[in-house]
Amino acid sequence: MIQTKHDQDDTAQWQPRIVAFLCNWCSYAGADLAGMSRLSYPASIKIIRLPCSGKVDPMFVLKSFERGADMVLVSGCHPGDCHYTSGNYHARRKLKAFRELMSFLGVDPRRFKFSWVSAAEGAKWSKLVEEITAEARELGPFRTFPEAAKTEASQ
């Protein structure tokens, strides 16, 4: 093992790593508004912008966990508000099933969040991030995925 700073998580200062997939038109704009309005929210969140929540492939969520995310958030426009009319409905259906599948396989569903945040909801955004960050902190580091690769298949 090459030792690096990443290996030593200082638990006291441990910051959860949250990967957020935001749709461009609502949630990303909402997060942007939060920024512009100088509303502070934890820096633990790493935002990836997508055109639409309907573009969030379950693969993205899996990959984020593999890359060490402690929590993944997908956020899109409120029902009916999708810039692309129905992308968020598609997302809602698929991601619900995905969460159920993950939960069935023993992955804590609390680690996978889904929210509606509109472009005007800068305040909701910052509150949401604060809340889920607190929850992620409570859940603690999510090691299942990243560490799995280090173990070679048992046989």
Partner: protein, 348 residues
């Protein structure tokens, strides 16, 4: 020192062997029962864990030396643009005793040795191989899919094992046994067991192997293969093949592998993974050209490789008749049947 010597083991020899060897810091690998009906080689510290009755392990022995996935090196891209590479350290030299593989699997290691130790010597494979002693348990009841006798082996075959153990009480593992030493390593193993084994009494002979009819003749098969590359036989025989890797992955002599990098942002591992010539992507070129574009050509490759190319190159057949591919095949295909048919074609 003479090898090929017979020893008798008293009824608790196995228990004692596991204890003694473990106590000496060795790793004992033995067949254990996991889920119902599934036996695999795992590390044991007590003989109780060892499976009593089984045809063969689900996964072949090869994985102990050539794991399904293994790290070759680790790397990290540093901030300054440099890359730090660390070759994965070789497996620790402490000894490994495989206590209870089948003779076919032991024989298969001959094939693996050839590949991994010609021209370039795979150090990782060699390190694992060198430290291991193979104690094979002779088969008493071959399964219906077994065909070792057709490919030059036997339920009591010596090849590849350091020690071959015959049950005298009929039971596979425990009980009174006869141990046949095949190599120096085998002798060292016997020596370690102390008083739980003793030279066999005069006249004690290993039991005769169970009946297992030879189904085809590898020479005839080879002769047909020499000419048969373009035969339409291949297309017919391959129709039902789904092109999965089940047969190859479970085969104790299949050794194809892939090398991949798996990395997060700036660090990762280079890994070696089992691969399989039945996969359509196996030979696909970047240009889109595929030297073996149809499933039948891949099926043909698998058989040709085992029964023609490999023998030509390395002087031995790359199949030990363990029957795993037949048991595993999703489509119920049988290599033995295919070869029987080839044999029949050659003989007219």
């Amino acid at each position: 020192m003479p090898t090929n010597k017979l020893y008798e083991g008293v009824s608790d020899w196995l228990q004692s062997a596991v204890e003694t060897l473990s106590a000496a810091g060795m790793t004992v690998i033995a067949p254990t029962q996991g889920e119902p009906g599934v036996v695999n080689l795992t590390r044991v510290t007590s003989a109780e864990a060892i499976a009593e009755r089984y045809d063969n392990t689900l996964l072949p022995l090869k994985g102990q030396f050539f794991p399904i996935t293994e790290t070759l090196l680790e790397f990290e891209r540093c901030e300054d643009g440099d890359v730090e590479i660390q070759t994965e350290p070789l497996p620790a030299p402490d000894e490994v005793i495989v206590l209870g593989c089948r003779p076919c699997d032991a024989a298969a290691m001959g094939t693996m040795d050839k590949v991994f130790q010609w021209d370039y010597d795979d150090v990782r494979y060699r390190a694992r191989r060198d430290r291991a002693t193979l104690v094979a348990f002779a088969c008493t009841t071959p399964s219906p899919e077994c065909f070792c006798t057709s490919v030059g082996g036997s339920p009591h075959g010596d090849e590849g094992s350091d020690v071959l153990v015959f049950g005298l009480g009929g039971d596979d593992s425990g009980g009174r046994v006869l141990l046949k030493v095949n190599t120096d390593k085998g002798r060292q193993f016997i020596d370690r067991l102390g008083d739980r084994v003793r030279p066999a009494s005069e006249g004690v002979q290993p039991p005769s192997p169970p009946e297992l009819a030879r189904r085809f003749d590898t020479d005839a098969v080879k002769a047909w293969l020499d000419e048969g590359f373009d035969s339409d036989f291949w297309q017919q025989m391959a129709l039902s093949c789904l092109g999965c890797g089940a047969c190859s992955f479970l085969c104790p002599t299949c050794h194809c592998f892939d090398i991949v990098d798996e990395a997060t942002w700036n660090r990762g591992q280079r890994r070696r993974n089992w691969d399989c010539c039945s996969f359509s992507l196996f030979t696909l070129h970047a240009s889109g050209h595929n030297p073996r574009p149809e499933q039948f050509s891949r099926c043909r490759q698998r058989i040709m490789h085992k029964f023609k190319y490999f023998p030509e190159r390395f002087g031995r057949i790359a199949c030990v008749g363990c029957g795993r591919c037949i048991r595993a095949c999703a489509a119920g295909r049988s290599l033995a049947e295919v070869l029987t048919e080839v044999d029949a074609r050659q003989k007219g």
